[in-house]
């Protein structure tokens, strides 16, 4: 026990301020981000992450948002287990043929107003997987997208800034 407490004490706070960094790859395309929605979500946002067929690179970086360096919870942003509680869907791509229905159903299960953020080059346009018998391409082929965060994979600071941008005034 003493080891544990000593380690916590010695480590201190390691969280970094990354607001405003890595923002060049974020693109807002949706019309829905009205002031009202932004105002409603400000200070408390629930995210449901959906992997629609990614290679898991994006997932690792989304994971990193919860580590003590990026600590997205300090902005009132939480990942939730159910789409029923979600305000924002964070979707990685490309959308595989086998995930298309599950993605649509998760989108439908999310209450409006909702914001959809497409993550990564594959979520944007299918990336290297393109469009094929098994891959439908970008997320916007299946559900409407509001914000795109490009990159392969996008860095945690790009993800954090993209999410904050989607909900701030």
């Amino acid at each position: 026990m003493i080891n544990t407490l000593w380690k916590i004490f010695r480590t201190g706070i390691v969280t970094e301020n990354v607001l405003g960094q890595d923002t060049e790859n974020i693109e807002v395309i949706g019309q829905k981000l009205s002031k009202l929605i932004k105002k409603r979500f400000k200070g408390s946002l629930k995210i449901r992450h959906i992997d629609a067929g990614s290679c898991n690179g994006c997932e690792l970086e989304i994971h990193a948002l919860n580590n003590p360096i990026y600590d997205i919870e300090r902005y009132g942003v939480h990942f939730t287990a159910s789409p029923r509680f979600a305000d924002l869907l964070l979707v990685t791509g490309p959308v595989s043929r086998n995930m298309e229905i599950a993605l649509k159903r998760t989108y439908d299960a999310t209450p409006t107003p909702k914001v959809v953020v497409a993550v990564g080059d594959c979520g944007w346009n299918g990336g290297i997987f393109g469009e094929s018998y098994a891959s439908l391409g970008g997320i916007d082929k299946v559900i409407p997208v509001d914000v795109i965060i490009k990159g392969c994979p996008p860095t945690p600071s790009a993800l954090l800034n993209g999410i904050i941008l989607a909900i701030s005034n």
């Binding site: 080891n3 544990t4 380690k7 916590i8 480590t11 390691v14 992450h49 959906i50 992997d51 629609a52 067929g53 990614s54 290679c55 898991n56 690179g57 994006c58 997932e59 690792l60 970086e61 989304i62 994971h63 990193a64 919860n66 580590n67 003590p68 360096i69 990942f79 287990a81 159910s82 789409p83 490309p94 595989s96 043929r97 086998n98 995930m99 599950a102 998760t106 990336g127 290297i128 997987f129 393109g130 469009e131 094929s132 018998y133 098994a134 891959s135 439908l136 392969c152 994979p153 860095t155």
Partner: protein, 498 residues
């Protein structure tokens, strides 16, 4: 040093007999796949015998597309033969379970995407169909379907538990949700761009997959990479191993609700990722390994940064391991949970830390080394318990071993260039490579046609064999321990589905 493998052809009626002989010699089936050449389908079985890979090939005419199933001899063949049946339409005769695999029931049954007459860029209509789930009946048995959209930040897959009270009596996995048509995509991309795609088969093991692809390609085209490039590739591979093991140990602790270690291990991992960004311009070191060598050299300043970081990492890591080791509440969760016995591990042909935690001493870096691993003599760590705790300890030992390897590599790093021009693949040849990714043995097999174009690229991620073992390991555990077991295996969905 080039990796050697033997390639034998047998007639179709001797295919099963050869497998029986292999089984008698205690060989393990590592992969089975198909290819198409003119009027024939070729079926390949790859065996691992001691530290040798033996590939046995047979042919069947397109007019009668079938071959004898090996599932009765090797359980591993079960899913790979279902895959051959689903994507190639070749029938494994004697296979007990020919439900579609990876290809879903709403695909047209007469379309086999990996056949050459199918245009990979076309999409198909959905048809009506139903998957025949394993059912269990009886008083008190309940079914728990989970996925494909899970509760956490993870990849999609479906798990169906049959539970009596809290105890799991059966688990059925179903995958294919992340099937992106990677193997077909390789055929249309061309050999130069294939490395990029290989790096995205499974994002967390991007370095291992790219090395696997590039080595197979280089053996196909008789390209010899500079010594420095080989050594730096190994450095990248070991850094990837450390980063992923750190993340995994933390995540397992998190699943056991010991969040302090999760945050601490993530802090160490993040430091490594930032150094990767600084030295190679990418946090996962994607696209650094290219056919013919590496795209970026490592400067002397970079070497010092890494060596300095290792001193810091070693100290921090030891402190965290001490906390892990001395915590009874954590022990309570990880000891005797998710046991995979040595007999099961052997029978199921598992690889990587899952195999080593169940007492199987195997590691491509030691058994089937490519340069520079032939000069390192990797110490392979094994445990016998086969539980979650053993899988964590294998990872702990491997982090320490990787630190030793990186120090060795950097102290003896050869001087010179890091890239040569990769030759064109020679016509009608095959290339093969086996790389120990942080997860385990990763296989690549490439085939070129008469013009020297890649006509088939087979990828076998370690996950494809380890997933099945999870079904066995969770048996008789409580449902609440499933995340813990799953994380300790940490197989890739994308690497399995392709």
């Amino acid at each position: 040093m080039k990796q050697q493998f033997t390639h034998n052809e047998v007639p179709l009626d001797k295919y099963f007999e050869t497998a029986e002989q292999m089984k008698k010699k205690l060989a393990v089936l590592t992969a089975e796949w198909a290819a198409e050449i003119e009027d024939y389908f070729e079926i390949y079985a790859c065996y691992r015998l001691n530290s040798q890979y033996i590939i046995v090939k047979t042919k069947c005419a397109k007019t009668q597309p079938d071959f004898p199933s090996l599932t009765s001899l090797f359980i591993v063949a079960n899913r790979s033969e279902r895959l051959i049946h689903s994507l190639f339409g070749i029938i494994p005769i004697g296979h007990p379970d020919l439900r579609p695999w990876i290809k879903f029931e709403d695909w047209p049954t007469d379309i086999f995407p990996l056949r050459k007459n199918v245009d990979g860029t076309q999409s198909f209509d959905r048809v009506h169909g139903e998957y025949g789930w394993v059912r269990s009946v009886g008083e008190g048995i309940c079914e728990i379907p989970v996925g494909p959209v899970h509760a956490g930040i993870i990849e999609p897959g479906h798990f169906r538990f049959h539970a009596v009270g809290e105890t799991i009596v059966n688990l059925e996995e179903r995958f294919g949700y992340t099937h992106k048509g990677i193997e077909k995509r390789f055929e249309s991309l061309g050999w130069q761009d294939g490395a990029k795609l290989a790096g995205r088969v499974s994002g967390d093991s991007t370095v291992a997959h790219t090395i696997g692809y590039c080595q197979a390609l280089e053996s196909l085209s008789d390209t010899i990479i500079p010594k420095r490039a080989a050594w730096l590739r190994a450095l990248l591979l070991e850094r990837e191993r450390i980063a992923n093991h750190l993340g995994d140990i933390g995540a397992i602790c998190n699943d056991a609700s010991f969040v302090i270690l999760f945050f601490q291990f993530m802090r160490l991992k993040e430091k490594l990722m930032k150094t990767n960004q600084q030295l190679w311009g990418h946090r996962f070191m994607m696209d650094i390994v290219v056919p013919g060598g590496l795209s970026i050299d490592l400067s002397d300043v970079g070497i010092n940064i890494i060596l300095k970081e290792l001193i810091w990492l070693e100290k921090e890591f030891d402190e965290l391991v001490k906390i892990y080791d001395g915590n009874p509440s954590l022990e309570e969760r990880v000891l005797t949970t998710g046991i995979l016995t040595k007999e099961q591990a052997l029978e199921l042909g598992v690889v990587g830390y899952v195999a080593r935690a169940s007492g199987l001493k195997m590691d491509c870096r030691a058994d089937y080394p490519f340069s520079p691993y032939d000069q390192i003599s990797v110490r392979v760590s094994t445990y016998t318990d086969g539980d979650v705790n053993a899988r964590i300890w294998v990872r702990i030992d491997e982090v320490r071993e990787s630190i030793r390897i990186i120090r060795f590599l950097l102290n003896e790093l050869p001087i010179g260039q890091v890239t040569v021009v990769c030759n064109r693949p020679e016509p009608n040849k095959v290339g093969f490579s086996a790389v120990e990714s942080w997860r385990g043995e990763t296989l690549y097999w490439l085939q070129s046609d008469y013009q020297g174009q890649l006509t088939r690229c087979m990828v076998r991620d370690s996950s494809s064999v380890n997933w099945l073992a999870l079904e066995y390991a969770v048996m008789n555990n409580i449902v609440a321990d499933f995340p813990l077991c799953n994380k300790s295996f940490n197989a890739s969905y994308s690497g399995n589905d392709l």
